[in-house]
Symmetry: C2
Subunit: 300 residues, 2 copies
């Protein structure tokens, strides 16, 4: 048995215009052993860049500390303008457990990175979402409220003492919001129907707020090009609400209207655990785990 | 899109007793970048060792050439005794395409290794199975017939001129049989029944020789401990005969007898492609490939 762990990190940086500066930050993830850079994209209006990387916790930790340091050095928020709210040079850093890793381990990783970056760069760090140290700090928008410009004032309140680092903002890099959250799966099921009202009715039954699956958000959507409607879903914890459950639940509700399912689609990448879960359900496989997938063993 | 390829190699070496010699061969795969040693096992009576490794074609090629060279150096077949038939120090070397790789590419890899090893070690090489240069050379037992002791005589026939290397045996290492074959999946479906005759009847309908699936071998088995019977299958080309087809076909036949399926089991490791195939079938996912599995992207 392997103990191999994969974590995803999707850090947001407050630089979306200067290519040279962006490249320096991206380089912290590029070609590093144990880290794979999956994507990066910048927005000039937002003056912001989002990076997506996966890797082993240890390798990701060192890449992320390096990237925060590079952002602190390269980005001057006293001169930063953009449409997107921001509080820090390295603005938001979420860790997402992907395989063989618990949420607690992702939270610990976030705290380790926060502690090390705080000490190395004299940077205040706020823990948010699953890593938050108090309920009022869970929501990103709440933590970021007031942004860089309001940070000196905000930090005077004991409510907003940072979790790590100095009690005053870094003069040019502000503060970083760091934490852990679940992997989000965007999953859509297409119906052999053009009736949007039916897709909406199914979505209401399938989603959490309507009495449906605990970790499912859903809405009905019209697919213009395809002459079909769709139940478009976000699964916010695939380890508890399974993809196959969402699929079967839509199928079940659609049957009420005599409508069959045309197929489904996944947006972006899927963790291996979802495929194992699906095969275990439909084929009734016993004791099958990600460790028994050949390609996964390459990652040991 | 990645072009990442994974090949498996399951070489058999004619040494199952001397730990030091075995370790030298195993070391050719251990800790090599791009190669993962999955398993090795030796049999003292057979005086033979089997290694299982996966990796990128390039890395596997160099590890395999090194391993053949080590076997040629370490193993002396003039002194070798064991119950298992053998013709060479590195006796049989099959390459198995696992992901993002065609059979033709695996055949080419086998030929490249054969050519390089033949030149480096003055070793005759026979291509077999999918890589065979003539129909009478496809079957391993046919190629190996006469073994090391009969090789000098056998090679005098133009029918048994080697594909690479000298026209006479290596004095102490004989000749190596190298080629490419499909990945074999051992897959069993358990039935809520204790009637072995029914399991056998289902096996006959599901398997190729009985008119069933093209790449499926099957037999009925009694599971003593579980108070159940089982249809035990070998799927010899999962890219054509799918695991879900085998499962559904057993279920379909079992329904004739009013028997339901209790579950299924996979022996050993499964290529990621099987899980993708399964999810695509049951969830009707569109355009989903191994490249869209997060963990697989780590291998790029």
């Amino acid at each position: 048995m392997t103990t191999n762990q994969i974590v995803e990190c999707v850090p947001n940086f407050s630089e979306g215009r200067n290519t040279e500066k962006m490249e320096k930050i991206i380089d912290c993830f590029r070609g590093k052993t144990g880290v794979k850079l999956l994507d990066y994209s910048n927005d000039v209006d937002h003056n912001r860049m989002v990076i997506t990387a996966i890797g082993s916790p240890e390798a990701m930790k060192s890449a992320m500390v390096e990237a925060i340091g590079t952002a602190v050095r390269e980005i001057d928020l006293t001169k930063h303008q953009g449409q997107h709210p921001r509080m820090g040079a390295a603005d938001v850093v979420p860790f997402i457990p992907v395989s063989n890793m618990t949420m607690d381990e992702a939270i610990n990783l976030a705290k380790e990175v926060a502690k090390e970056a705080a000490e190395k760069f004299m940077l205040p760090m706020y823990l948010y979402e699953k890593a938050a140290s108090a309920p009022h700090r869970e929501n990103l928008a709440e933590v970021r409220k007031g942004q860089f410009e309001g940070l000196t004032e905000k930090m005077k309140s004991p409510l907003w003492k940072p979790d790590f680092g100095p009690d005053t903002p870094h003069p040019t890099a502000g503060a970083t919001i760091i934490g852990a959250r679940n992997y989000l799966i965007a999953y859509n099921v297409n119906l052999h129907s053009t009736d949007l009202e039916i897709a909406k009715a199914i979505a209401r039954k399938v989603r959490f707020i309507g009495g449906g699956l605990r970790f499912c958000k859903a809405m009905g959507v019209n697919l213009q090009g395809k002459n079909m409607v769709q139940v478009s879903m976000n699964l916010t914890d695939f380890t508890k609400t399974s993809v196959y459950q969402a699929f079967e639940m839509v199928k079940m509700e659609a049957a009420r209207y005599g409508i069959s399912v045309a197929g489904s689609e996944v947006i972006g990448l899927l963790p291996l655990g979802v495929l194992v879960d699906t095969a275990n359900y439909y084929l009734g496989i016993e004791d099958f785990t990600v460790d028994r997938v050949l390609e996964y063993r390459m990652l040991e």
